[in-house]
Symmetry: C2
Subunit: 459 residues, 2 copies
């Protein structure tokens, strides 16, 4: 019958394990399983590996990333992996004065703290300390077991900010921080999820900081190179352009139907964002408890925007290229030039509401809004980039939002245990299932390693 994939066709290939998704988590799992002597096939919907890691060529062999790019010093799994693949890191450009646009005016500053109102800075600091103390009470393996889990999961982060942050300035800055980390508004996210995420990263500073934090370093050759080098030894075990549509589970094995191939495996690792795992067809259908989990973990909304200039002119003017703005629409900006500083690249993020709203206007209008911000922050030369690059991950059929996903209120306490619990022969991987650096490359690596261990232990 039309539309029933594979009806009447022979199985094309067998493997001990089929990994679905050739992002970082899936590739790490595959590598580990191969090392343990298992036969593995990786099915990937896209015509490339890397998932949310994607290099964009700038010419002359140089690249920028339109997806995830940074690595921080405590992301040891990711650093070790890159090191084992011979990939170097280099520091995010930070020398010079930063810019903050706050309360309608531009301020230049050095170091981490701008000279804005002391009461605002103190207010941010007290909030940070309280959040930190709460976050440490959230078990990263089981956030729903925190003693105040129900209370924290029953409110949005916006509710907490309204009650615990006094000044409008501090609220604006913490809203900006929320957008920067979750690509969502404080109104969208469960407070328990915010606390879990902070704890899983080792604190709010680790999430937000450049030096010493998650934005400290970049990969020479671009982050996608990590995925590409992981994929190399797997060779034809990776099948690109094979979106998986359907899984048929039996007591003995599992059949995987993709566009282009049917596979039979002993076990499957699904290394996809949770919301996408809910979109496959399962026979028999997934338990309601797991299915409803996937209805409560939306992906964030972010558009990564870059303007390319013949040189990083702002450096010559004493500016680092880093900027934050409570005005927006671009609220967070970095110098994203290649290691040798040529060409000059300014990177700005549209996050949460800004990504949603500007995602609905024509490209020209969005480009003008983004480049207009760069001009405000760095002067007239920023108004005329040689090239404009952008990527909205909500539009990507095989991701449907970045940076990662978050739990809406009630999600962790209502469905948390279903996040990693295998369903028969199906195991779950992906940065969203990590307990350490959840949502980051480091978390993806952890999740791939954990899922591979589960599979090996289950046999």
């Amino acid at each position: 019958m039309a539309g029933e994939p594979g009806q009447g066709r022979k199985d094309a290939r067998k493997a001990d394990v089929v990994v679905i998704g050739a992002g970082l988590a899936g590739l790490v799992a595959a590598r580990q399983l191969v090392a343990a002597g298992r036969s593995v096939v990786v099915l990937e919907a896209r015509d490339r590996v890397g998932g949310r890691l994607l290099n964009e060529p700038l010419g002359e062999g140089k690249v920028v990333e339109v997806g995830g790019q940074w690595v921080g010093p405590s992301q040891r799994r990711m650093l070790a992996l890159a090191d084992s693949l011979g990939i170097d890191t280099f520091p995010t450009h930070g020398s010079g004065q930063n810019v903050i646009e706050y309360d309608g005016s531009l301020i230049r500053y050095t170091g981490t703290i701008p000279r804005i109102s002391t009461s605002v800075l103190l207010d941010v600091e007290q909030a940070r300390q309280r959040l930190g103390a709460m976050a440490r009470q959230v078990p990263v393996e089981a956030p729903w077991r925190a003693s105040r889990a129900e209370e924290w999961d029953g409110q949005t982060f916006a509710t907490w900010l309204r009650r615990n942050v006094v000044t409008n300035g501090a609220r604006s800055l913490l809203q900006l921080a929320t957008e920067a980390v979750w690509a969502a508004q404080p109104e969208d996210v469960s407070l328990l999820h915010v606390l879990f995420y902070m704890h899983s990263a080792g604190g709010l500073d680790a999430l937000l900081d450049t030096e010493g934090g998650a934005q400290q370093d970049r990969f020479v050759g671009g982050s996608q190179l990590v995925a590409q080098k992981l994929a190399e030894p797997l060779g034809e075990q990776i099948m690109l352009g094979h979106p998986v549509r359907r899984l048929e589970l039996s007591d003995e094995s599992i059949r995987v139907f993709s566009d282009g191939a049917i596979l039979r495996a002993s076990r499957v690792i699904l290394a996809l964002p949770p919301t996408l795992t809910g979109r496959l067809v399962y026979d028999p259908p997934l338990p309601g408890y797991r299915d409803q989990l996937t209805q409560r973990m939306p992906q964030g909304a972010v558009t990564k925007c870059m303007a390319v200039y013949d040189e990083p002119f702002w450096r010559g003017e004493g500016l680092s290229g880093q900027a934050v703005s409570t005005t927006g629409p671009v609220k967070l900006v970095f110098d994203n030039s290649p290691p040798d500083g040529s060409p000059g690249v300014i990177l700005g993020f549209l996050e949460g509401r800004q990504a949603r709203e500007l995602g609905r206007v024509p490209l020209d209008e969005r480009r003008a809004a983004v480049v207009g911000c760069f001009e405000r922050f760095f002067g007239a030369r920023a108004a005329e980039p040689e090239r404009y690059i952008e990527r909205s991950w909500a539009e990507e059929e095989w991701t449907r939002g970045c940076y990662g996903c978050y739990f809406t209120p009630g999600g962790w306490t209502g469905y948390g245990p279903a996040l990693r619990e295998p369903i028969g022969r199906i195991h779950w991987a992906g940065a969203e299932t990590a307990t350490v650096w959840n949502g980051y490359m480091d978390g993806a690596v952890q999740s791939g390693e954990r899922a591979a261990r589960e599979v090996i232990a289950a046999e």
Copy 2:
């Protein structure tokens, strides 16, 4: 290639409009389009019509419903539809004393208000009045335009209850009401959604009441009969057992790939819960804005449980068969016997957390927990039903949760306009898209009529 549905096959059938989903909304839309002279095909995944309307035979031609069942006096579209199909209603059995289990003890009472603490009753009443006043400020066509939309959408209903309800008793009762209406916890739902939903139904009383409210009447022959009678004249225009997998949109038409048939149409009406619309394959892919909406409208969790006895023995003991309990796990109970009172049927709901938790234990254990509640409320005779019937809608592949869906915080203000906005040749129907009696049969009818009008106007 395997898994690409319909590759190389001829289109089986053409129609002006393909309706996807033979629930109430889809059938109403189809009927209206046929009446307007359009050729229509309805594709339905299940082997029956009715969606969440499903009769369960009791023998001797009698039925109970394991899905939606009630109709209220202000649900004029639904009443008119049933009337036009020659389907009668009869009142929900209510004579006798109701039971409330509150603060650990059972109280019998008549009328709508039990004799529990006056301070609790007054507290409920002040909350009800405040919620009512707020709800009237939410435009049902565009909740995101309420003057306080951001504030209300940025918090859960639990947050509002914590701040505005003083007594623990009133909080328990309003939690019970939340579970009864949304099959979710107050922690899960956006306050703005609660207010929208109340306004769309005409107030909280209309949602909660039996007499004068949404639970007032039942359909003779069961609610599914409405769908069955709607389907009759459509005959072979309805194709059962044809789950749709993929939509290919072009400027001229739209191709619909289902298991078993490929259709070409000028327009498509998708009459599915929003979360399920996100699971189809669209070529080209849906805009991110619409896709991300579907990630933020989870379905509720409810298991409808019934115990069948040779007669409604509670009536002879002066009881109505209606009960509420703040203890649970069954918190809401009705006499659900057929019109002639034979056999006797007690209906209890597991909602929200109770449905999630008891959904994970074996049937025997769940049955014992449910029947145990009936025994507490109605005495020893309730302990030995002749038959136990249950349906968990989260397990149903083609629904994935009931009663309907709700918006999580930030959903309405972030994505609301995408709810009904057509995407090219695709129009959206279903009770979740209704402005009047959203989530109810009456809303399904409204949505089907509206989608049909859209299609007719678009040609």
